[in-house]
Symmetry: C2
Subunit: 161 residues, 2 copies
């Protein structure tokens, strides 16, 4: 069996490998190979290709925020006044620069940005809000949601086939 296409298309082997790596990227290539019926070097080459083509964006350790002194996870919906490209890009840059902001998405709907923020205390969040939201003339309003329970956390992606 060979790859579906020579370019960047993913075949069933790739999906199977990704499924494993998304759960545990310390799984030995030999073990992966046994699971997907491929030799270890073949698995290695496919992983390398997946990394080079950007399918695998990073290999990271997932840390429990509460256990490193950052027990508060907060969602923020931000609505801006003007949606000119310059102002949106400015906001993106500012939000990206803040280490407390774990995730930042530019969205359509009743808000313009969705933020996921991790902070040690409510005081820290208030300081951040004062700086990023009250201190930004283009922020019309923002709504805060404090997480009480991390029911499910993942960047893993459901893989079909």
């Amino acid at each position: 069996m060979a790859r579906a296409s020579s370019s960047t298309a993913l075949d069933a082997f790739d999906h199977a490998i990704l499924r494993i790596l998304q759960k545990d990227n310390t799984t030995p290539q030999r073990t992966i190979g046994e699971a997907v019926n491929l030799s270890a070097p073949a698995v290695q080459r496919r992983i390398k290709r997946l990394e080079e083509t950007g399918v695998i964006e990073a290999n990271v350790a997932v840390v429990n925020p509460a256990k490193v002194g950052q027990p508060l996870t907060i969602f923020v919906e931000v609505e801006v006044i003007s949606e000119t490209a310059e102002l949106i890009d400015l906001a993106k840059t500012e939000f990206s620069a803040a280490p407390e902001i774990q995730q930042c998405y530019y969205v359509t709907g009743e808000a313009d940005f969705m933020l996921v923020i991790v902070v040690p205390t409510m005081t820290a969040y208030e300081a951040l809000a004062r700086r990023l939201f009250f201190g930004n003339n283009n922020v019309k309003k923002f709504r805060t949601f404090v997480a009480m329970d991390r029911v499910k956390v993942g960047l893993a992606v459901p893989c079909e086939i």
Copy 2:
């Protein structure tokens, strides 16, 4: 220099190691050791401890959803009718079971759940919404935000000290 406490407290070495692993957990322990001024075995023991104590929850490959045929990221704010423990737990279970739901948080504020969903098409999202939201008698309302830009995505946690 010694560890701050014998139990589960993290010292500066641990934080330095975590900072590296959060960016790239394939970094060789020798390299980490050089960066933090520790031997490779010392690094290895600390990583093992961090994993055993749950500070490191997982080691995963981060996949680009768009490149595996899941180009749509959607935020959903869900408001429920009754917040009894049973009904909340039921909702948590249902949301956790859906592979499309990447992240699920139970929050305080004007909504009760914040969801981050990854799907291939809008049609797939509509089907999911019909099943999970319209098909759940306890869902009062939900608001959908479609992500146009993944400005910043991470589960990495800002480490102090």
